[in-house]
């Protein structure tokens, strides 16, 4: 079977789960697609999962009320073994890429990380992935009785529901003790469109000037366009915006239909996170800024003059 570990937040199945199912379907590997739902109070998630999977395994356990890398790895490896999975697909989120390698080691399996495509070649599973700050696309192959994969967020189209929902089974697990205690938590909830879901992203860089300008220029433009808000590392380091909005090598990787970069220089680490966007738009007062090299449309000008005009022109 193909075991897919569901990702969910706030009692809802995440888009990443649908993308992983689609990765499983496109992999050319045979066997039922089985979604594993780990958590507590996850009946709703399991029901949503059943719409796209051949079967759903639900471990609804109080020990799993909050995520822990060791517990998630132990659970996944146990089920993979018991179900003789030949392919295990995990989310390419931060947490997914934190426990997937542990699963691989437990199963003595090769690990294909951050896959953007999957295909079967005889007994081997092939994946494509980005390396060198997303400048190189590499093809890698793994074989063996079981292969662990993490699927890059946004790389696979969300799977469509099946005609009939899959069967759900409750399962029990033998879990280790937690070694890490979480003593505090702060959620960076942005009231805006999540970057991973956004079709349009408006990103501000250091050229925006300060946090007030960010709120005055970037947010209203994003609102007019129904867009998500992004930031460069320079902006996050300066404390103008939360880290959750950072795009780039050490932030989020995004691939929207339109990426609008305002006062962003276009450093390679930033390009690594948004360079695959369908259209890139740049506004920068420096005509030589590297961002213009990757831009489809651009305006050479001062953001404090151009953006208010854009806000006006984009009002619907």
């Amino acid at each position: 079977m193909i075991l897919v570990v569901a990702e969910h937040t706030g009692g809802k199945l995440a888009k990443a789960s649908l993308e992983m199912v689609s990765a499983a379907r496109s992999s050319g590997r045979e066997g039922p697609i089985t979604l594993l739902v780990l958590g507590h109070g996850v009946a709703g998630v399991a029901a949503e999962a059943a719409a796209v999977a051949d079967q759903v395994l639900v471990a609804d356990l109080s020990e799993l009320a909050t995520y822990d890398a060791e517990l998630w790895a132990a659970a996944t490896a146990q089920i993979a073994r018991a179900g003789e999975a030949h392919t295990v697909i995990t989310p390419g989120s931060r947490s997914g890429r934190e426990y997937a390698p542990r699963v691989a080691v437990k199963l003595d399996a090769p690990y294909l990380e951050d896959a953007i495509s999957l295909s079967a070649h005889g007994d081997a599973l092939r994946a494509q992935r980005y390396t060198y700050l997303s400048r190189v696309t590499e093809t890698v192959e793994a074989s063996g009785p079981v292969v662990v994969v993490s699927a890059k967020p946004g790389a696979f189209a969300p799977a469509a529901p099946l005609g009939a929902p899959g069967e759900q089974y409750d399962i029990d697990l033998d879990l280790p003790e937690r070694r890490v205690t979480i003593t505090g938590r702060s959620v960076e909830k942005s009231s805006r469109v999540a970057l991973s879901e956004a079709d349009i992203i408006v990103t501000g860089g250091r050229g925006v000037g300060n946090a007030e300008n960010f709120a005055r220029l970037i947010e209203p433009l994003a609102d007019n366009l129904g867009a998500g808000v992004g930031a460069t590392r320079a902006v996050v380091d300066a404390g103008w915006r939360p880290y959750a909005e950072q795009v780039g090598q050490t932030g989020k990787t995004v691939q929207p239909g339109a990426y609008i970069a305002l006062g962003v220089s276009g450093a390679v680490q930033h390009l690594s996170g948004m360079g695959k966007s369908k259209y890139i738009v740049a506004i920068n007062k420096d005509a030589e800024a590297p961002i213009f090299k990757v831009a489809d449309y651009g305006i050479v000008g001062d953001v404090s003059e151009i953006v208010p005009a854009l806000i006006e022109a984009s009002r619907r």
């Binding site: 390396t131 890698v140 050490t250 680490q269 305006i299 000008g301 022109a313």
Partner: protein, 252 residues
Amino acid sequence: MKILTLIRQVPDAEARVKLSGNVVDLGGTTVVMDGMDEYGVEAALRLREAGAEAEIIAVAVGPQRNEDALRTALAMGVDRAVHIETEERLDAVALSKVIAGLARSEGAELILLGGQEADWDSQALGAATAERLGWAQLTWTNELHLNGTALTGRHDVDDGNESFETHLPAVVTTQQGLNEPRYPTLPNIMKAKKKELRKDDLATYGAAPSLNYVSAEIQVRARLNRVIDGKDPQAAAAQLIDLLRNEAKVIR
């Protein structure tokens, strides 16, 4: 106590990547210590400066040129270095066997490494190593304290950040914001030349690559590069919105 701090050498961010045949060719490319690893070295030094009695060992697995990066770590203040020299490309699962083996033979209790290297971007070595050793793991830390064997700090998670508490032994991955790495001073660069840089044989660790590298490609997406002069902001904005609406059809 012993701390291992892992060092990887990657192309300088501004360097152009080129392929030769089917693989990335780093010949003639400027390579540097991965930025992530500077945070790791700095974190180890700061734990010691804050009172932890520790011997700090920098470790690299890779080609001969890695020595430069190890010397940089030594010049920053690391006590000694271990270089497992190989031209073979090892994936994170294979590498974790080497690192775990070394951690065992050294009797290390803390391993610091980058959250994600800037070349292959595996983001996997920390977790794989922690699993092999049966240790706790903390990823993407931006604050770290050690009190006896109690390890506390803060780290980033999917939707925000958390404060954590655990105990050694542990694997900790670093990231931006954890600290501001120091520059090696000239006297320290001189001193580093005399510090031990031990060579270990990869064969003793029994690690073999678990992946097969099929091919690599550089795809450069052709961009339209239509740049408008912004001297008249209203006209430029109107033109841009029109292009996005009617030509690219990406906004309504």
